[in-house]
């Protein structure tokens, strides 16, 4: 026996070491990618790409607070100067005028290749007459003051056309020459990081650099009162990761310490304590190993769920030690193991249902818990008995059990009150069914409320686009993508003209397709030709043809000009605009055309109709996000029902008695109803993970209800068993209850549902245990 024990321990140790080696080499990710769909649709893929590497995900908004307007502007300039030199930042904007001049020069220089109005008709006598007439008319307007010096070079007003497309959309407020908040009390900057939105390390580094440079700049200027506020998807990712990391450690620690304290107060033996933790440690390790092997990356929240797993997995060793104390191992195996095994099975089916979720966080959680519970049970059954041969005898828990027996004896009096409470709960839930659920994806986001408020404030101050509406084009190569963008743009122009959308951005505006450039160049007549046409066109005009010499030179130059390439945009902020909207993909290129809302809300169907035939796909990001969440929710409902059905099937096959099945299930269902109603009453808006929690109440709670079923099966429910059940329920409630402390909504929801649910499942099972068969 001793030898067998040694061999078993050695095998176990080897398995653990192998597991540890796998965990050591696993990739852990504490970012928010767990909410992104595992099998995205085309629309959702756009969402995922934007979330991971879209320009919006790389924008950080900065606000400088305190000091006076002049000092803030000074700090803003200083900060921009410092950050701009760093390779970590693609662009740093604060509204300084100098940066706009470069863009204007570029547009002016390349106006004949860029302007969509450049066609052969525009340079006929009639076309010139009309275009130049417009420019002269513009001179009569206050807006004309700016263009007056440009008329001799650009009488047809191509630059004005380009400029009006550049200036579209709202511009931030300004004070002392730099961007300011709406109230003018903060200086604003907009920073684009080089690091992708999904590169949380890179984002963290960028944010730290910004903070350090600001601190140094403020110190140099002697402004101790100046503060920096920062927000953006990058900060959200960094903060979420910090929260999740911190929580994983904190929750596991709390749960372990409390459970160990409870166990020690019962066992009063270090050897027993460490033996009973053996299955838990094995289970937790096996869980991570399984997830790592199957998914490659282990999410932080999955590990965070470990604190609940500890509480659940420790049950098996509690049963073993407490129940086998009096009867011995063999009798325990015969009498109790089948019940425990059935409980393990129901738990596995409950967690197993989650495996099929398209919500990656959920399927990982399912696999983690499933393998953890299974391993803990197997270790309890096959390893623990061998190792605990020489363990000290368990303290006699019969006195505790006896007290429990007395309590259980009076519990059935509570049947009617409980039924009434359940009825009231059910009524409440039915009447409030439209207000129970949180319909927003943000319900799952670990971003704190305070961070969200800051973000909203900064966003509105800087007028940053929220990029809610996008038209997306995928094409095999650059040229095809740009041509498609131009085609879709022409179709969107009609919506703009009708006022159905406010406007749109397109990379083709600053980087036209080669075909368009070629066509525009070809539509320019020779200088001599233009000269003779101008004579005719300007016969009655106040503008004399002989003043337009520079125009002829410009036309001649444009006819010789080489094609405009992406490199030519370097040094302008237009380059960023193009890069943001024109992205290389694994296969080909994709173009984003963000749409702006006009006077009225955007009608998705109208836009889709308008874009028909252009190959562009219209995506409303908010709708897609909400749809994604709704899909998750629908799917979780289906999976929960499937899990419940699986549990019912296992129990039915095992019990072969509808009456017994009903007796086991009734308290569990009542527990779910009462818990959910309770959550609603205390103001929790239910989401996906609460739903999963409901399934887990049944999956976990059934473990306890099944022991009462033994009573029905004419076994006596001895005091030791009662004590072990109470203890096991306590540790489970502690494990899940710890999750309820979490600030991460995904973990909090499971904890707050299953923690009370487990206790209630035990209590209700005791209350509804059949009168006749009670010992």
């Amino acid at each position: 026996m001793k030898q067998a024990a040694g061999r078993t321990f050695l095998l176990w140790l080897l398995a653990m070491l192998a597991g540890a080696a796998i965990v050591w080499n696993s990739r852990f990710s504490a970012d928010m990618s767990f909410i992104l769909p595992a099998h995205p649709t085309a629309e959702q893929q756009v969402l995922v790409d934007q979330f991971k590497e879209g320009v919006v995900s790389r924008l950080l908004m900065l606000a400088i607070d305190g000091a006076d307007a002049k000092q803030r502007a000074e700090l803003s300039r200083e900060l921009r100067g410092q950050l701009e030199k760093m390779p970590d930042f693609v662009s740093v904007q604060n509204g300084e005028a100098a940066s706009q001049t470069v863009d204007r020069d570029f547009l002016f220089k390349h106006r004949y290749l860029l302007s969509s109005k450049v066609t052969a008709e525009r340079f006929t006598v009639a076309g010139l007459k009309s275009a130049i007439g417009d420019s002269v008319d513009l001179l009569a307007s206050p807006a004309g003051m700016m263009i007056k010096p440009l008329i001799p070079q650009d009488p047809t007003g191509e630059f004005v056309t380009l400029l009006s497309s550049l200036n579209a959309g709202s511009q931030p407020n300004s004070r002392e020459g730099v961007w300011a908040s709406r109230d003018g009390e903060r200086a604003m900057l907009l920073v684009q990081t080089k690091a992708l939105g999904s590169d949380t390390d890179g984002q963290e580094q960028a944010i730290e650099a910004i903070r350090a440079h600001f601190k140094a700049a403020a110190q140099r200027a002697g402004l101790s009162g100046a503060r920096l506020q920062l927000s953006g998807p990058g900060l959200f990712a960094v903060n979420s990761r910090a929260t999740i990391k911190n929580e994983v450690a904190r929750l596991s620690l709390i749960s372990s310490v409390v459970i160990i304290a409870v166990l020690f107060s019962i066992y009063r033996s270090f050897k027993l304590l460490s033996l009973s933790l053996l299955p838990v440690v094995s289970g937790a390790l096996a869980g991570v190993v399984a997830v790592s092997l199957v998914y490659g990356t282990v999410f932080g929240i999955t590990v965070g769920f470990g604190s609940a797993l500890i509480g659940e997995a420790v049950d098996y060793s509690i049963y073993y030690f407490v129940q086998s104390g009096r009867t011995g191992i063999d009798a325990w195996r015969e009498r109790f193991w089948p019940t425990i095994r059935l409980g393990v099975l129901t738990s596995i089916f409950g967690f197993g249902a989650l495996l099929f979720s398209g919500f990656p966080g959920l399927s990982q959680l399912g696999l983690y818990a499933l393998s953890g519970v299974l391993t803990a049970a197997l270790v309890t059954r096959f390893v623990l008995p061998q190792l605990s041969v020489s363990a000290p005898k368990m303290r006699d828990l019969a006195p505790l059990g006896k007290t429990l027996e007395k309590i259980i004896h009076v519990l059935p009096r509570w049947r009617w009150p409980v039924l009434l409470l359940a009825l009231a709960s059910a009524t409440l839930l039915v009447s409030q069914r439209n207000h129970l659920w949180n319909p927003e994806m943000s319900a799952l986001s670990p971003v704190s409320q305070a961070d969200q408020v800051t973000d909203m404030a900064l966003r509105s101050d800087i007028g940053a686009a929220d990029s809610r509406y996008l038209a997306v084009i995928n094409a095999p190569d650059r040229e095809a993508a740009l041509q498609a963008a131009e085609k879709a743009g022409a179709q969107l122009d009609r919506l703009v003209a009708n006022g159905q959308i406010g406007g749109y951005d397109s990379p083709a505006r600053f980087l036209p397709s080669l075909a368009s450039q070629h066509a525009r160049r070809a539509s320019l007549p020779s200088a001599d030709e233009v000269r003779s046409r101008l004579q005719a066109a300007l016969l009655d005009s106040p503008l004399a043809a002989d003043k337009l010499g520079p125009f002829l030179v410009a036309i001649d130059a444009a006819r010789q000009a080489p094609n405009l390439l992406r490199e030519d945009l370097n040094g302008t902020s237009l380059a960023l605009a193009v890069d943001a909207l024109f992205l290389p993909q694994a296969k080909g290129w994709s173009v984003l055309l963000p749409l702006r809302t006009g006077q009225e809300a955007i009608d998705a169907d109208q836009v889709r109709t308008a874009l028909a035939g252009s190959g562009a796909m219209f995506v409303d990001m908010k709708v897609e996000f909400d749809k994604l969440y709704n899909d998750y929710l629908q799917e979780a409902m289906l999976l929960s029902l499937a899990g419940l059905l699986a549990i019912l099937t296992v129990l039915a096959i095992n019990m072969r008695s509808p009456r017994r099945l009903l007796a086991v299930m009734t308290p569990l269902v009542l527990a779910v109803v009462i818990v959910v109603a309770g959550l609603h009453v205390v103001g929790e808006r239910l989401h996906l993970l609460h739903l999963v929690g409901m399934l887990l109440i049944v999956a976990v709670g059934s473990n306890y209800a099944l022991f009462f079923d033994r009573v029905e099966a004419h076994h006596s429910l001895d005091p030791e068993t009662l004590a072990s059940m109470l203890l096991a329920t306590c540790t489970t409630a502690i494990g899940f209850g710890t999750l309820a402390l979490s600030k991460v909504p995904v973990l909090h929801a499971v904890g707050v549902t299953v923690g009370p649910g487990a206790i209630l499942a035990l209590l209700l099972s005791a209350i509804f245990v059949s009168r006749e068969t009670r010992s």
Binding site: D137, L139, S141, S170, N173, R175, P542
Partner: protein
């Protein structure tokens, strides 16, 4: 002769005429709470052989809303709401926040300050020189900032009581514009 010279001296050098001074004019103008007027604007531009003329209506609502609706040669709507200047033309709308553009703001303040009788706003960027009497006054604004002076040499506003009759801009490049205003109704 001496008296004449003395008189001329008085007229040309004193920033404010004793009997009718800037304070009084500003006071009169401030009482004007708004109204509608027709305008004819004639721009003389060296680049063009003839002046360009635009006509339309403008309305002013105290204290900070100004609307200038050009009807010929091209319809155009210019609105000034606090510091937000919008120009709508041929279906396109361009909005400029004037607080971003100190020079443009100074320019706009010349007309807005006059309309509202806001002496402080005017004196921030211009020296004020008034001549005439309450029934027929001429207010000359001379830019005091170098940046503004590089754009406009002087602005001459004429009027009668609280009603502005004309505004003339003389630009640094020699171009000029004269806007004559005729009230449609006064509130």
């Amino acid at each position: 002769m001496k008296r004449l010279i003395a008189c001329l001296f008085l007229v040309f050098t004193l920033p404010a005429y004793a009997a009718f001074d800037v304070a009084q004019l500003m006071n009169d103008l401030a009482k004007h709470k708004g109204g509608k007027a027709k305008f004819v604007e004639k721009r003389t531009i060296s680049l063009l052989d003839k002046p360009v003329i635009s006509t339309g209506e403008m309305s002013y609502t105290a204290p900070d809303r100004l609307e200038k609706r050009t009807l010929t040669p091209k319809p155009e709507l210019l609105t000034l709401d606090k510091d937000l200047l919008s120009i709508e033309r041929e279906g396109q709308k361009l909005s400029i926040n004037l607080s971003n553009q100190p020079e443009a703001l100074a320019f706009i303040d010349s007309i807005r300050g006059t309309l509202t009788g806001n002496r402080a706003a005017l004196e921030k960027n211009y020296g004020l020189y008034l001549s005439g009497n309450s029934d027929k006054w001429v207010l000359t604004l001379m830019p005091s900032e170098q940046k503004i002076a590089a754009l406009v040499v002087r602005i001459i506003v004429t009027g009668s009581k609280s009603q502005i009759r004309s505004i003339e801009y003389l630009q640094a490049d020699g171009d000029r514009s004269l806007m004559t205003i005729e009230a449609i109704e006064t509130k």
